[in-house]
């Protein structure tokens, strides 16, 4: 079942217009909707079909659930912005809104009347977030990009994969979701600023820059001063502590020992209560400082470690790590995640009835507020589902006018 919207929520008082179907704009607006904002998703009737069937995972012919996931808790209308009447409807929506989120190339946004200059004249209190691959200014501001392109530009892909082989992007829509989260965060900063400025503003989010500034840019000083470059290093990091993904009986186990005492505790697990003989009796290991072990003997240690790891399942090793306070974690697949007793005990997945897919368990907002809990209370809208509610009830259009707009293809 789909839950009911609970009050109060932090963003109850805000109305958000989301234009188009970009993954980043949709997820950003979803984050606002999850905390109570009324999000009106405005879809272009011409491109909505393709966007709604976006399938990220290969190998299956069924429509993917991406649209259903990132658009729950929203209202949906159809609107063709390329018509004069459509522009008038947009202006009426904008007058009653606090936030508008869009993701068009800057020149295209201007064509559609979605540039900040135009929008701020209609509503000076409006906050506009533009989420584009490379931002509103600079030589690449009109460049086209998808997830793999942004992952490449954000200095991320170059670090994922085997040395010398094809770099890999971050899986699924990570780059879009992160730009979305940063845009939503900046928008709330803008809402707080509006409390004392009384005015809206334009927020420029570059997806590549979100990666560089928040995820990968901490390495820039090491690059500038020490010419240290991050490169692909397969299943182990190039960092100095033992850190990577290793084989075990039924899959993989992730290990990170940040400090020497954690490495010792891990060795005690491998030796079932004491340091294993193959380690204790080898002076090369015992005489090498913890921080140099991985660089000097990483490959050799891996072979020796895996002899024991291969005799245990990932859940057995996970449990031993928990008891001994060592960060050992199983690499779980999606089914295992959905069935995970811990997440289910915390009721992280909630039943939602989607009109197309039926009842599915959705991951809900990870933000658990004590006073203003969020809920999934509405599945993603069907195309134009809330035309009447928004245009008649909210904007006060007559039924005749709405019919006229529909007949000439505006809505």
């Amino acid at each position: 079942m789909t839950g009911t919207k609970r009050h109060p929520q932090p963003l109850d008082h805000l109305t958000v217009i989301e234009i188009g179907n970009n993954i980043s704009t949709a997820y950003g607006a979803k984050m606002l909707a999850d905390q109570g904002a009324e999000v009106i998703k405005v879809e272009d009737p011409l491109t909505a079909e393709m966007d709604r069937t976006e399938r990220i995972l290969p190998g299956d012919e069924k429509t993917g659930c991406l649209f259903a996931y990132i658009n729950c808790n929203k209202l949906g209308v159809r609107l063709n912005l390329e018509t004069e009447k459509g522009q008038k409807v947009l202006a009426d929506l904008v007058r009653k809104a606090d936030i508008l989120v869009e993701g068009n190339r800057p020149s295209r946004a201007k064509e559609l009347g979605l540039d900040y200059e135009t929008l701020s004249k209609i509503n000076p209190r409006l906050l506009v977030a533009s989420i584009t691959p490379f931002g509103q200014t600079g030589p690449y501001c009109e460049y086209n990009a998808y997830a793999i392109t942004v992952s490449a530009a954000g200095a991320s892909s170059v670090c994922i994969g085997e040395p010398g082989r094809t770099p890999l992007p971050l899986p699924l829509s990570q780059v879009h979701f992160q730009s979305a989260a940063m845009a939503a965060t900046a928008l709330l900063g803008g809402i707080l600023a509006r409390e004392f400025t009384g005015r809206g503003q334009h927020i420029d989010i570059s997806e590549a820059e979100v990666w560089i500034t928040h995820f990968t840019g901490h390495a820039v000083i090491a690059y500038v001063f020490h010419n240290r470059r991050r490169i692909r290093s397969g299943h182990k990091t190039q960092a100095l502590f033992p850190n990577g993904i290793f084989h075990c009986k039924d899959g993989y186990i992730s290990l990170l020992a940040m400090r020497g005492e954690q490495w010792k505790a891990y060795l005690n697990i491998l030796g079932e209560g004491k340091m294993p003989d193959w380690y204790a009796n080898d002076e090369r290991f015992t005489r090498t400082s913890f921080r140099e072990l991985n660089v000097k003997y990483g490959d050799e240690l891996e072979v020796l470690m895996e002899k024991w790891l291969m005799t245990k399942t990932k859940n057995e090793i996970f449990e031993l790590g928990r008891i001994n306070h060592v960060a050992l974690a199983p690499v779980r697949d999606i089914r295992e995640v959905l069935e995970d007793p811990h997440l289910n005990d915390r009721k992280y997945f909630v039943d939602v009835d989607d009109p197309q897919f039926g009842r599915l368990k959705y991951p809900q907002s990870a933000l658990r507020f004590s006073q203003t809990p969020s809920a999934v209370y509405r599945p993603a809208p069907t195309l134009g589902e809330h035309n009447e509610e928004i245009f008649c009830k909210r904007l006060g259009y007559t039924k005749e006018y709405v019919n006229e707009l529909a007949e000439c293809g505006v809505i």
Binding site: G138, A155, V158, L168, Q178, E209, S254, R332, A366
Partner: protein, 415 residues
Amino acid sequence: MDKSKYPLSGIRVLDFGWVAAGPSATKILADMGAEVIKVESRKRPDTTRFTPDNIERSPETDPAFHSLNRNKLGITIDMTKPEGCELLRKLAAKTDIVLENFFPGVMKKFGLDYESLRKVKPDIIMVSMPGLGNWGPQAETPSYAPGLAALSGLESMVGYKGERALGLQQPYSDYNAGTNSAFAALAALIHRNRTGEGQNIEVAQIEALVACIGEAVLDYQVTGKVPGLEGNRHGRMAPYNNYLCDGDDKWVSIAVRTDEEWKNLVEVMADEPRLKNEKFAAMDGRMANQDELDVVISDWTISRSAEEITEMLQEKGVAAFPCMDIGDCFLDPHFQDREVFIPLEHPVSGDEFIANLSWKMSETNGGVYRSAPLWGQHNHYVFGEVLGLSQEEIARLEDAEVIQKFQEPERKNKG
């Protein structure tokens, strides 16, 4: 710098964040102009003061620490002494937001959990960022970013098709939880400003990660297929890959979503007749023959530079970009034009470059206005001016080693 026009001007944050998750959340708040007071102890240093990139091995020379903690004030206090925790409660009483990413139960042990702090500041906003949550059967599990990515299912999708899982090999969970927690703190602040009510917020990092792969969780329920290693494959786009270019380990990403983009790509690569083959004309055909398509495109890219290919394809609206490393980004004219990296002087390390804000707001942007705090650098400001303790009282607390005295580090000779 006039901070009064920053979005969080006048907001104070007591920051118990350490390693990367907590600090990346408060970095966002500090960038927006909040006064963030980073609580540290010399007895148990923030591990980010000693990352592998810290060549000089001084607590004041770690580049990652400088990046994550710019704009913050720093105090050093011994939390194992009851008087230390009492001081922190008094500080919390003058604070809007408290944020922490300790192991579950640690804040309670120190008498600094939400219930304790609410008694001294009824409308306090508290954000906790535990790895697996503060409650539930596996809450008390040691966790770092890579293990959390493994537990979330994310790592099971990273690797070449048909081969072994590789994982992201970057602390994705920390920064993901950071943004989510900053967002939560701001939402709570908006709620407090409207209603006068504070609250306690739990952002379990594992849940914040599963939220990032939500569509796969739903897709699995519809198709019954467990997604595995997909390499560079996408369910609706072909070509979609990184292709080897001229040069040493240089790659260009190319992705095509519409038939129009495909037509333009074929035009750009006009000297490659194999692309005109009928089987590549529509998306279904390109998807079905993706391996072959990748070989043909690679044959074309291998003799050209990634930059040249990017320019040619983007000219025609086709998504392409070189696989950059952070040095490439640093030198790139576009990112330089947008001031993605800016110079910042650090008292010990001297002139450094640091990544700029993650957004550009037209009116109240915030900024980078202060280098990362030295150990205890702002003890006197925080305990004297914020808390109102006399110099004598501060000296007494320093002698009792409750406040760990600021020691001026050796400053780097410049020039």
